[in-house]
Symmetry: C2
Subunit: 396 residues, 2 copies
């Protein structure tokens, strides 16, 4: 006998699961569309070279689902959408009007050990604005992030979006930390909260001297000279200066906090970086994140400034559950249960009853169990979620 | 340099392509939901055994994308949804209330030579009602099929749904054709319209004698004794009799025609079978099809009567194009272009303008190109599809 289980690390979406997923997708789509973003998609299979080019990264090697097809092509199941977005923009670079505002909700696969909040299969909202170098697009993506929360009626104290800027950090690392191993600093800061005290000591001891260690600790703890020096240099970048000034005039700034511990691990960020967090301490992983990666198209020999974000469905659903943000019902349409008296009444059902229900934009659920006791049929339709129940008898 | 092309046989969905696909999905979802069907989904990766069990079929072997994962599991990319539906029902067989009305719009992959209307990657509407043995569910699926056309405002003369019944055909093959190679007859009839005259002669000559050949020709041409005998036996099955009687009372019967040439190739059908056709002769492939397969759960040792249909997005889009059934615009929401005067006006944009547009459920598109001539900015926003254009200046 064949197993009825899904493939390891993947999910079956039964009606109630699908409704939850669709609720999230619909809200996402509605907010992002309002901001003038157009939805795109592509095949979940891509030529493997698209990922393998980013050598050294986990996604390019260990976590990638790839295989050889019957025509000897190296194929991969996409682990993320960004390389596809870059490929699609590069393919029509001359024709597309900038700024390009695109979003997508692709299904992605990563070969990893399934654990809480991490599956092998997930859906990910991707939002990108391409073609604007200024702080305006940084701000747009930050405020879009904030609107994602608002769309789900998130309490103002349930989340925080922390942002930082790679240009400022680059200056801090060079001029204040006096370190030349920038990538190592980013890697360490990105993992900081996941490390134990001893692991941090060990990681820092091998890379930095005592004075550097002190600066790093001050930065992370937002206390002392290391942090003050960071605050002193934030106006060295015009985009950061403009961002801070503009945010200061907006209500949303309550949830948008400048924070030097946010750096994002991935090397390709070139400007703003940000991560959103659940304020509930039991859920300390980032809900989502993003940033500027002006090198987006470099693989294809083009240049275009880009800012984007990515939100996974699993993490987002956990956040909604934590804060009890799911709606009571997923559809607002009335569902009418139809008890059909006998087969002779089918003609009336389809000529009169159903056209009327369709014209009223209602949902219906037909019970064909003529032989059964009417009260039981009624109860059965109630259990199937019908709001109202009618009986259809043959046309007299 | 890496290629900007999609993987062979797959499609990129740029905004205009995505909007077309979504238009189809939304209409499908709306019709099928009205009939009380709940949407489901599952992972595109399944354990390969789910398909390989159906030995001898193309989907189970030649056309299947399968590979071994890093944990030595045999994995397949789903070529169709039905085995997944069966698996999911079997996994919760006791708990699910029958009849189960489910639909899904999965992405599927088949390794085949890409050609017009056939790609390696497609999306397929799947609709199934499980748990009703009677003609009522046959009729429901037939009328649902008809409503799929209606939802796209299809002209009544643009399509026809031909149906037939395996029980009647089994009797005809045994008692009238006097043939014992039933599967060969189904296979031949299913391919009949794709074969040249010579190919038919050859195929029939090797399998049937002259008298059988005459009967087959009469059946297919709906003329002569072979066809008359078919009409004579259609009341031998109660479901067929009830179907014909009920259809006779319905307007929809104009598009629902009993036709003995429709048999569907796949062996698993056990009752009604049907196929929908574009009446335009340039498009003679079936638009979609379906039927009853009461053996749906047999792989899992369960029994449940089931009727279903499957519609591919590529074929359906071709039909809409043939009959000019695409809407002029894909969104009915007003799109407002926003010319931002300078960076000082951003505060007003986010505190006053955008909240108002969002509350009116409008879409907006912000132009940050302060330095550019206002007329050019206006024209550029028009070209981006804005219905109305406003200018936002700093709050005085």
């Amino acid at each position: 006998m064949i197993s009825t289980g899904a493939y390891k690390g993947t999910r079956d979406f039964y009606p109630e699961d699908f409704a939850r997923r669709q609720y999230i997708f619909d809200k996402w789509t509605s907010v992002i569309s309002a901001f003038g973003y157009n939805q795109i998609d592509a095949s979940i299979l891509e030529n493997a070279e698209l990922y393998k080019a980013k050598s050294g990264e986990e996604l390019g090697t260990k976590q990638l689902y790839s295989f050889t097809d019957k025509g000897d092509r190296e194929v991969a199941i996409r682990p993320e959408m960004t390389p596809t977005v870059a490929r699609m923009i590069a393919a029509r670079y001359g024709e597309l009007r900038q700024p390009i505002r695109w979003f997508s909700i692709p299904n992605c696969f990563r070969y990893e050990r399934p654990q809480k909040g991490r599956l092998r299969e997930f859906w990910q909202l991707n939002v990108d604005i391409i073609g604007n170098k200024g702080f305006e697009s940084d701000l747009e993506i930050l405020l879009l992030s904030n609107n994602l929360f608002k769309a789900f009626n998130a309490p103002i104290n349930s989340y925080i979006i922390k942002w930082n800027h790679r240009t400022i950090m680059d200056i801090w690392i060079q001029d204040i930390l006096h370190a030349d191993n920038k990538d190592a600093v980013y890697d360490l800061l990105d993992r900081w909260h996941k490390l134990t005290f001893e692991e941090r000591e060990e990681a820092t001891n091998s890379l930095f001297n005592e004075q550097q260690l002190t600066s790093l600790n001050q930065l992370v703890n937002k206390d002392g000279l290391g942090y003050e020096m960071y605050l002193n240099i934030i106006d060295k970048d015009d985009n950061v200066k403009n961002l801070i000034e503009t945010l200061g005039t907006l209500e949303e700034s309550a949830n948008l906090i400048l924070d030097p511990t946010i750096v994002r691990g991935i090397a390709y960020y070139t400007g703003i970086v940000f991560e959103a967090f659940d304020t509930n301490e039991n859920n300390n992983r980032a809900l989502f994140g993003g940033g500027r990666y002006d090198s987006l198209l470099s693989l294809f020999g083009e240049e275009a400034p880009a800012v984007g974000l990515g939100v996974g469905d699993v993490t987002w659903a956990e956040y909604l559950t934590n804060w009890n943000l799911w709606p009571e019902k997923f559809t607002t349409k009335q569902k009418t249960g139809i008890i059909l008296n006998n087969k002779e009444s089918i003609s009336k059902l389809y000529t009169i009853v159903i056209p009327e229900l369709i014209s009223k934009d209602q949902i219906f659920d037909i019970d064909y169990d003529y032989g059964r006791n009417e009260k039981k049929r009624y109860e059965s339709l109630k259990k199937r979620g019908c709001d109202e129940i009618i009986t259809v008898s043959a046309h007299e």
